[in-house]
């Protein structure tokens, strides 16, 4: 009897027919576009035709196959298990299997102790991710592969999640990085994601097998895996069909008649129902009234028919689109352009201007301004009059349509921006953090997946009977929810409407964090390309229970605002490129590495024919600095400098034992203590090296929990580095408690800082000859520390005489006090300097380890480059009396945050502001961010939060900071 396995994956359906000997005699592979039952019926019919009258044994597998198998009463084989069955049968000598699918990634360790890993709730770095990235770069997946083959260098792209990677790639594209290099980097990101996310401390070695679509279709991806794992894997024949073959081979397969089953499947109706919400419009009339109302939103602003005379040019070089528009002094519009970015905005603007000059010779451009991610590059390329921060550009435009506007929500391709306006000034800003889910590109992606254009997809939504309730979460989660809804019988219309609602909910509840949507404001302007989608607009009005205003140029508001801005601010100091200049215009891109500091930024140099240069990719101003070398007052740098005195790794006690200290988490504050303690005890001290991405990659194989914060995950790299230094002892104590500074109700460390030493001990292979000391210690009680230190050392067989320990502890506490005092002292000096020089001050509030440049990505220097003084939270916290917080104030580091916020709030100094650094995945910050915000806002201060991860989009950070300065300056 033939054995049949049907593998219903997230995007494709695969079928394998095995003969009596277990050989593959027929197979098929197709995209199912969520029409699972009809596709399955078709496959069964084909089989019935091929083998007429034969009964077969059949089983279903695959992530999207469980529901249908359940409902039809067919045997279901879990897909990883199926893979394993097939591999054991076909390639029994295999040790490890890496299988990538549409939305899932798996590693199977066969060998002696079987282990199976699947990606969890986070599904970055899979086939869907590669497709998405190809789409972003405007190439087919095959072209992406071809591009990657020619690459010369690699960029670091966040590998955690497709959405993150997207926000890394976009700036690279905008900065003019080579497509081929980005293509290669995308494949390497997939590799890193798989290795870091799934290996979880177990080495990938032995005979390696590559399975699944992406690894079959992209040889470059296989090469990238080979390169990273330093091995050579094989991609076997039928690599797409291992899951379906495994299902076919399963002993649980059931005997069926294909023709009969085809009939049942074709008539299949899902049993479960999906959760729906109310329809967007009850009927056509309701929609017509809605459409009319919004037509009136842009009364008084017309599109110019016959252009003449002075006009102002506004350009918005955004993340996914490039927009440009002209306006006259009355604000009437002319010649709008709205094009996908396609990775390089420069030729688009060149064509726009060339056409404009050719078609309308009597238009005189009296002023110009540019905004958006590509602001600086476009300014250099074309001699645009001024640059303007996106937030200001948008407000300028919105105010033109509605002078009383008090709330603006802009949902673009990749960003969500919200501002509250009070007294004609931007009062608070909300931007989506490092995550671009729920934006326009999100809807676009789903439209594409379901086989529609975005316009058709949006239209479908309007009269959906029962929009699917999808919640408000990241794209990857959404994929699974959509899949489930489809399984449960939701129509494309219901899904499209449901996604529109989820975009709105994401903005309201995740980005704005609004508790009561009816209180957003009284005059709300919504804009951004996404709001041109009537379904989204309607969903928004329904959710907040209010009518809002959507300008006709909702998608062009940035450019329009820039044009209006130019009208007021372009003083005509630079001359916009003219027709002659455009003819000769040339743009050359080259790449180089900056050696200005240990960051070694990969720079992209854009050379324009007007002799100007634009350099991108730099984390600080060093490579682009002109002669005037501004003095920096940066307490982050000062702290690093103080600590560097303890990082010299000298042999101070020849012949004595060496202790290794990892430069991670709380060691960024306690290094002076531990160094002095061990030095005083006569040990030589070696400290792990500077953090950088290479160091991180070195340790990523041993990270057991990929969703922990980046500062914690870096610890694995530091330990690999320490092991190379070959010390006799490794010292990294567990510390439930932190130092006690008396601000709060307790003085805990967060669980990760407190116990990461146990994760290291359990997952990093520490050689037997080294003693790893990870016992529990607290510095809080100075009287008993020495006694407990002796105990902790003794537990690992290292004896330390108590008298020595006491003496050493005394020195250690003194060193710690000196360090903290120096920070406070210097902080005070900087604040004084700022006052004298009239410089703005930013309290860049984080935790001690945020001073690591690999963790903060140079945000401190960026702030200095913008002309401000940077101080730390621990340099001002002590100036505040203890006070009652509205959270349980129980962590020492976070107590400093609240105190620092209080200091800024109480200072009554418009030049003094706080920016909070938040590590992605830091659960504690779900508590602290709202509290810090509340402390600041009760005194009318702006709250700015920057989320940082393995990678940070510095472009977005810059926008945030510039907005902050622009607003603070206006206040």
């Amino acid at each position: 009897m033939k054995q049949i396995g049907i593998d219903v994956g997230s995007t494709t359906i695969k079928c394998a027919v095995l003969d009596e000997a277990g050989e593959l005699v027929y197979s098929s592979y197709e995209r199912h576009r969520a029409c699972i039952a009809p596709m399955m019926a078709a496959i069964l019919r084909t089989i019935a035709e091929k083998y007429p009258g034969e009964k077969v044994r059949l089983a279903v597998s695959g992530s999207a196959g469980m529901g249908i198998a359940n409902d039809l009463g067919l045997p279901f084989i879990q897909e990883v298990y199926a893979t394993r069955l097939a591999v054991l049968k076909k390639m029994p000598e295999t040790d490890t299997v890496i299988e990538l699918g549409g939305e899932d990634a798996k590693i199977l360790f066969l060998g002696k102790s079987l282990e199976v890993r699947m990606n969890g709730t986070c599904a970055g770095g899979t086939g869907a991710f590669i497709d998405q990235m190809a789409e972003l770069m405007n190439v087919s997946p095959e072209e992406l592969e071809a591009l990657a083959e020619q690459s010369e260098k690699l960029y670091t792209i966040a590998s955690r999640c497709g959405v993150f990677a997207k926000s890394d790639i976009q700036p690279l594209l905008n900065q003019g990085a080579q497509k081929k290099d980005i293509a290669a980097s995308i494949f390497y990101a997939v590799v890193n994601q798989t290795v870091a996310g799934l290996a979880q401390g177990r080495a990938i070695s032995g005979n390696l097998l590559y399975l699944g679509g992406p690894l079959t279709f992209f040889p470059y991806l296989r090469a990238a895996f080979d390169d990273t794992l330093k091995t050579k894997g094989a991609c076997p024949e039928h690599s797409l069909f291992f899951v379906s073959m495994g299902a076919a081979l399963s002993p649980n397969a059931a005997e069926i008649d294909p023709a009969e089953l085809a009939g049942t499947v074709a008539n299949f109706q899902s049993k479960t129902a999906f959760a729906g919400c109310r329809p967007l419009f009850e009927n056509e009339a309701e929609y017509a009234a809605f459409a009319d109302r919004h037509k009136a939103d842009s009364r008084g602003i017309a599109e110019i028919a016959a252009p003449n005379g002075e006009m102002f040019l506004g350009i918005d070089a955004g993340s996914t689109t490039v927009k440009a528009v002209l306006c006259d002094r009355a604000g009437n519009l002319f010649y709008p352009m709205y094009l996908p970015n396609s990775g390089n905005p420069v030729p688009l603007i060149r064509n726009y201007l060339t056409e404009l000059y050719a078609k309308f010779p009597n238009v005189k451009i009296a002023g110009s301004a540019v905004t958006g991610y590509g602001e600086a590059m476009i300014q250099s390329a074309f001699g645009v009059g001024c640059g303007v921060v996106e937030t200001i550009a948008h407000y300028t435009a919105a105010a033109h349509f509605c002078p009383q506007v008090d709330f603006i929500l802009d949902i673009g391709g990749q960003d969500i921006k919200c501002f509250r306006i009070r007294n004609g000034a931007i009062d608070s800003i909300f931007l989506n953090e490092a995550c671009s889910s729920g934006c326009g590109s999100f809807l676009q992606t789903f439209a594409g997946v379901l086989g529609f254009t975005p316009q058709e997809f949006a239209k479908q939504a309007l009269f959906a009977k029962s929009p699917v309730d999808l919640g408000s979460r990241c794209t990857v989660f959404m994929n699974s929810s959509v899949k489930q809804a489809q399984k449960d019988g939701a129509t494309v219309a219901d899904i499209s409407a449901g996604l529109s609602v989820s975009v709105v909910k994401n903005a309201l509840y995740k980005v704005i964090r609004c508790a009561d949507p009816t209180r957003l404001g009284d005059h709300i302007v919504v804009q951004g390309g996404t709001f041109l989608n009537d379904a989204v607009l309607r969903a928004f009005e329904q959710e907040i229970g209010k009518e809002v205003l959507r300008p006709s140029v909702a998608g062009l508001m940035g450019a329009y605002g820039a044009a209006l801005y130019a009208m007021e601010h372009d003083k005509g100091e630079t001359r916009l490129i003219d027709a002659e200049g455009l003819k000769a215009f040339a743009h050359k891109v080259s790449a180089l590495t900056c050696n200005g500091c240990q960051n070694h930024c990969r720079l992209t140099v854009n050379q324009f024919s007007n002799g100007r240069r634009y350099i991108a990719g730099n984390r600080c101003e060093k490579p682009v600095q002109t002669e005037k070398n501004r003095a920096h007052f940066n307490l982050y740098e000062y702290k690093c400098e103080l600590l560097s005195a303890y990082r010299k790794n000298e042999i101070r006690h020849p012949g004595a034992k060496t202790v290794g200290l990892p430069m991670v988490l709380n060691f960024y504050e306690l290094l002076p203590f531990w160094w002095t303690l061990f030095d005083a005890l006569g040990y030589n001290v070696v400290v792990s090296g500077q953090s950088n991405h290479a160091l991180y990659v070195k340790g990523q194989q041993t990270i057991p929990s990929d969703t922990a914060c980046y500062p914690a995950k870096l610890a694995h790299g530091h330990f690999e580095d320490l092991l190379e230094k070959n010390p006799d002892l490794l010292f990294y104590p567990c510390m439930s408690y932190n130092v006690e500074e008396g601000y709060g109700a307790n003085h805990y460390n967060c669980p990760v800082v407190a116990y990461y030493p146990t994760v290291i001990g359990a997952n990093v292979a520490i050689p037997e000859r080294m003693t790893y000391i990870d016992g529990f210690l607290s510095l809080a009680d100075r009287r008993v520390f020495a006694k407990h230190f002796v105990r902790v050392m003794g537990e690992k067989g290292v004896s330390v005489p108590l008298t020595d320990a006491k003496k050493a502890a005394q020195a250690a506490y003194a060193a710690y006090d000196r360090y903290m005092e120096a920070v406070r002292q210097k902080g005070g000096e900087y604040l004084q300097t700022a006052k004298e020089k009239g410089m703005p001050v930013i309290v860049l509030a984080g935790r001690p380890y945020h001073i690591d440049p690999e963790i903060n990505h140079g945000i401190d220097r960026l702030i200095c480059d913008l002309g401000a003084v940077v101080v730390t939270e621990d340099a001002v916290a002590h100036k505040v009396q203890p006070f009652q917080t509205t959270v349980l104030n129980q962590w020492t580091y976070h107590a400093r945050l609240y105190a620092a916020a209080r200091y800024v709030a109480d200072a009554n100094d418009p030049g003094l502001n706080l920016v909070q650094l938040v590590s992605f995945g830091c659960g504690v910050d779900a508590v602290t961010t709202d509290e810090v915000r509340a402390i600041l806002e009760c005194r009318g201060k702006l709250y700015t939060q920057i989320k940082i991860d393995e990678i940070t989009n510095l472009g977005a950070v810059k926008i945030r900071l510039r907005s902050l300065f622009a607003v603070a300056g206006n206040k």
Binding site: P704, P751, L777, G923
Partner: protein
Amino acid sequence: MTKKNCKLPAEHGFPNPPFTKEMKATHTILAPDIFPIHMLLISEIFRMYGYKFQVLHDSGKPVIQKGLEQLHNDMCYPAICTSGQQLYALTSGQYDPHKVALIQFQTGGGCRASNYIWMLRKALHNMGMDYVPVLSLSFSKMEKSSGFRISKLMMMKGIVAVMYGDMLMLLKNQVKPYEAHAGDTEKTVERWVAELAAQFRKNRGLFGKAFRKNMRDIAADFHAIERKKVKKTKVGIVGEIYVKYSPLGNNGLEAFLEAQNCEFMVPGVLGFFQFMFDNQKTDRKLYGGSIRGAFIAKAGSALMRKVEKIFIETLRQYPDFVVPTPFSHICELGDRIIGRGVKMGEGWLLPAEIAELLEKGYENIICAQPFGCLPNHIVAKGTIRTLRNLYPNANICPVDYDAGASKVNQENRIKLMLALAEETEAGRADDQSNPRRAAT
């Protein structure tokens, strides 16, 4: 854009009304449904002391949605679920908001859970319901309210109630998968909850002989339920204290496992209490610190050791029931895996319970945790490697729960674990039927 932002108060903060003595008579205390069986018994103890105490059973999407609306969405899932349940009830129209108070457990540990009550207060403030008192239920008296005092005797009674809950849960889980007549087990649970509640109301059944007798009778009753001899896959469930027990938190995990032909074992709540007392002793040993705290902990531990002994002795009478492991042995198991000082969240207890289950033959372990749970980076995923080295047969499956995580995904992962379990089982059967293979 919270209300707070819209209308700036002069000072940062909001009123935080106390629970007065008078409120004891007028206000109903609403508690989230944390441990399904136990909470019903605990509420009886509160009633015994004159409180109006109501355990909420609201569930489903609207409850979660309420939580998401009012709490920071990066807050851990148990906070979203428990607060969501309370806020949902508060706005459902079933209660007069001026006549209720909310209660949350507070361990005072270093993880975010100690902040739940503050998150709840913030949410109430944003909803314009500042006047609703929020109570903290903890062993360490973190917050005091004049009308809400838990005496030592009351706490002891509470511990006994939890003990009964553990007994009922443990037996239910062992009998239900095999019951010959569907519904017998649930009926027995219901009958005993009602019976115990009736006894509690007369202040009986809590100590001494009555307690022993009840425990014996419960065991006998469950043992008397007619059972079939069927093969079930044995699954152990550990994890974060809320999501491992609550169907709202774990998407109906137990029902799913029942449908997959499994018998599951979830270690009791008592172990967690013992763990908390043990932490106080450990803290004193590791860092010095309050003698008083350590003394109370010692007294608490002693009481629990006593009830635990009765528990174990009772069940020893029935060789076909799995007897709980004494806490002292759980400590030993934990010490082989992770330091006893790891105390935040479920701390060292979590891997120790995995080891306990493995020892008892529950080789397939689901570790249920909220997505992004900080302690679980350390004590769950962080210890799996150590556990696998110690117990090569362990088939451990961590599952993340979150408002956004899809049920399909979670169930798919569990199915993988079950497929491997089935194969191991089949392999064993083969070995038995083929003595030559078993020998090699």
